[in-house]
Amino acid sequence: MIRLEGVSFAIGDFRLTDASFEIPAGGYGLVIGPTGSGKTSLLEAIAGHVPIPEGRIWLGDRDVTRLPPEQRGIGFVYQAYHLFPHHSVRENIGYGLRLASADARARVEELASLLGIGPLLDRRIRGLSGGEQQRVALARALAPRPAILLLDEPFAAVDPVLRRVLRRELQELREREGLTTLHVTHDVEDAMRLGDMVAVLGNGRIQQAGPPSQVFRYPNSAFVAHFIGAGTVLQGRIVRTGPTGGDPPRLDARFESGPLVLEVIAEREGDAHAVLRPEDILVSRTPFPDYPRNRFPARVLRTELQGPVTHVHLDVSGETIVASITTATAQSLDLRPRDQVEIAVKATAIHLI
């Protein structure tokens, strides 16, 4: 288990305020945030390299807030691996085992064979490929059997094919070693594929934390929505149009964003953002008879083929809205720039924040 309770610290120009999240034992948590948002500093703080003036860090059932790094039982893999250049592969992996015992030797061999780097054990670090260095760094971190594994952008420097292989290897190792993992990345895709818990870091705060399905479906702020690429984020105002009902109370309302007015179901009035997910936007060349509301004429700006789906960038009353339709549909519609189409979106599909 990794739990942060209201952790605040400052290091250099970076300040983190009131960070809280929890990754259950054996779980996989991700912290995502833009480059420079302090992800590495957060990991280093959890590892014990940064003094924590406020808040608590729990690893397993221990409060480690005041413990030095060597007593926290953590494995750490930096983005650039940081292997010890004056040691061989074998010495790197065995570094944390210290004793030249038979057990230590066996552990090094075991991890090397699990990660497919057995033949490299007596090589020097210089000359290893990125993928090989990555595996050595992982083996080195795991050798002392830590309960916690901290990964700093572990897949940033490897090509997509190797990335898939490494993701699978990491998954197997985690289960085998019973590791609780925290992985920081700017790659939203990693977060969607791997995590039990996702925390979005930005502007020195954890902006949102929760299960990936929750965070990706219901971003709680324009920052999170933008960062995770949730879709088109419109800024505007909610204006009540009908009576309030239900529990929690919901009201029929209009969302006004410049000339664009959407009918929505809201929980409150006032300034807000509306997130329109690309997959919730329908595109047609003919009017939608089933949608009496939230239908708009739109002009095609461009289309982007992305495998089975096609992103259609549309101009709607001066706002750019992105719709995601199947490539088959896109082909049958034969959309071209400057074509006039109609788009529709269900009131229930509009996420207001």
Binding site: E44, A47, G48, H49, P68, P69, E70, R72, I74, G75, F76, Y78, A80, H82, F84, P85, H86, Y95, G96, R98, R124, I125, R126, R140, A141, A143, P144, P146
Partner: protein, 258 residues
């Protein structure tokens, strides 16, 4: 075409510089007859003074390492209030004319000064004693030793130490197992430079401790008292010994295992 002529100019200018350094030294060696050199090597005063020079230079270098390496590490790794000032102060000896350094040391360590008087009461005499030689050498060589170590430490990524800490090392263990081996080459290079600087020192030592004579002072003494022919063999011997130690230490340097 431009690149070619630039390269040619570079080669010519560089060759001129090498000639300016090597030329006088070769001329000096040329001047010494084998017989005179053999006599000098048997000359007890010359042998003693070269031994004294090597021992005091080594002592000054060791002192500079002991006093300077921890500070170099602190300066490379942290920014503390006044760290820039400390760096600047430690570079001062590089720009001070060496007789000025000698005079300053004489005033600071002389028998009638507060510090020198107190140390003298403890039995540590500087003026006209061996410690005076070491003090002069330390003053002029410490910046080289310290800066060499600081640059060597700065070149070791602090993240390597952090990795070692998560692998169970205490701060001292991480320093000993990671930072020190990776910076040893640079520290040694700085120490070697400092040692060489100490062996070559004249201006500061001549004011503090004329006797016993280190090699540079002995050579100056022979030159002023007996003239050039007497100074040359001793000079060539010192040159040979200094070069020999330099080459030997370079050979002993740990190989770059990176």
């Amino acid at each position: 075409m431009v690149a070619r002529s630039l390269r040619l100019a570079g080669v010519l200018l560089g060759a001129l510089l090498v000639l300016l350094i090597v030329g006088p030294l070769l001329r000096l060696v040329w001047e010494a007859s084998p017989g005179a050199l053999a006599d000098a090597a048997r000359d007890r005063e010359i042998r003693d003074s070269i031994t004294l020079t090597i021992l005091t230079a080594s002592a000054a270098t060791m002192l500079a390492l002991i006093l300077g390496v921890p500070l170099a590490y602190a300066l490379a790794r942290t920014r503390f209030p006044g760290s820039q000032l400390v760096r600047g102060l430690l570079d001062l000896p590089v720009v001070i004319p060496h007789p000025v350094a000698g005079i300053a040391l004489l005033l600071f360590l002389g028998r009638h000064s507060t510090v020198g008087g107190a140390l003298g009461a403890l039995g540590l005499e500087f003026v006209s004693h061996v410690p005076g030689i070491i003090a002069g050498m330390l003053f002029v060589s410490a910046p080289l030793v310290m800066n060499g170590a600081r640059e060597a430490f700065a070149a070791v990524d602090p993240k390597l130490e952090r990795v070692a800490r998560t692998l169970g090392d205490t701060p001292w263990e991480a320093f000993r197992r990671v930072t020190l081996p990776l910076s040893a080459r640079g520290i040694l290079a700085g120490a070697l430079l400092g040692w060489g600087r100490s062996v070559s020192e004249f201006g500061a030592i001549v004011i503090l401790t004329y006797n016993p004579k280190v090699a540079s002072i002995l050579i100056f003494d022979r030159f002023t008292v007996y003239g050039l022919p007497a100074a040359v063999p001793a000079a060539v011997l010192l040159l040979a010994v200094a070069l020999g130690v330099f080459v030997l230490l370079r050979l002993l340097e740990p190989a770059d295992r990176g």
